[in-house]
């Protein structure tokens, strides 16, 4: 990527924000986001997977072709969430050599919520809070030794959390 001053990058980004709002802009913002990061920041190799509009598409973009259910992927999420804007999710893997955890939300406008890289010295045990648009499944996928394992839980949403 050519060297671009911080001010110029911000000008490009602001122009990008102004040009189009909506689906095209969301994809565009993702592309611009890739461009404005400092050269030494780690580029998320799966950034385009975050723009996927379905779980199937997100998995395809992540090149996750083969996933098996595993009782060793411990996914915790509430059975009922009063507020879909803040749904607590935790994922713990008992599978050796787990090096990545993915959290997806079925039926969300953008189902891929997070990817966590389990680097050396990090326990495969993370928690975060996500927005869910409607009653749907939370899906946790972990990667270990190049293979993928999953668990899922249905969360019933009383008040949807994505707005719009």
């Amino acid at each position: 990527m050519p060297h671009v001053s911080r001010r110029r990058r911000r000008a490009i980004l602001n122009r990008g924000l102004g040009i189009a709002l909506g689906v095209a802009a969301r994809a565009g913002l993702g592309a611009i986001g890739l461009g404005v990061r400092d050269a030494d920041a780690q580029e998320a190799p799966d950034r385009d997977a975050f723009a996927a509009r379905s779980v199937a598409d997100a998995l395809a973009r992540l090149r996750i072709l083969d996933v098996a259910d595993s009782p060793d992927v411990l996914l915790d999420a509430p059975d009922i969430a009063e507020n879909g804007a803040v749904v607590p999710v935790s994922v713990r893997s008992r599978i050796a050599h787990t090096d990545a955890i993915f959290v997806l939300l079925d039926r969300n406008p953008f189902p891929l919520a997070a990817r966590v890289d389990i680097l050396d010295g990090l326990a495969p045990d993370v928690a975060l809070r996500v927005k869910m648009a409607e009653t749907a499944a939370v899906i946790a996928i972990v990667r270990a030794d190049g293979r993928y394992w999953r668990a899922q839980r249905d969360v019933k949403i009383t008040i949807g959390g994505c707005g719009g």
Partner: protein
């Protein structure tokens, strides 16, 4: 950013609470204009300058995100640094020192 790092059972439990609107880009304001997407895309954590955790986020992470992770090993006094960057290129860094759990 509020970071709490506690040494518990041989692990540092790190709880990070970040103030950020995490706009999905799907909402509209009262006038009906779309509110642009504005969300944290990447968070990195270090212990004493060693990277221990990287996470990439989409717009489905909640507003004012709470993130909890656990670093193996560690000691009271270790320095935990967390930094994030969002889709606008804004970034923040903050740090905390690992403490022992509060007495019951």
């Amino acid at each position: 950013m509020r970071i709490r790092a506690t040494l518990r059972s041989g692990r540092i439990e790190v709880r990070v609470l970040i103030a950020h609107p995490m706009e999905t880009g799907l909402r509209k304001d009262e006038a009906g204009n779309p509110i642009p997407a504005w969300y944290i895309t990447d968070v990195t954590a270090r212990v004493n300058d060693r990277i221990v955790m990287k996470t990439a986020w989409g717009t489905a992470v909640s507003k004012d995100p709470l993130l909890v992770f656990h670093v193996l090993g560690g000691a009271v006094g270790d320095r935990v640094t967390v930094d994030w960057i969002d889709n606008r290129g804004d970034r923040r860094t903050d740090e905390a020192t690992v403490v022992a759990p509060a007495s019951p």
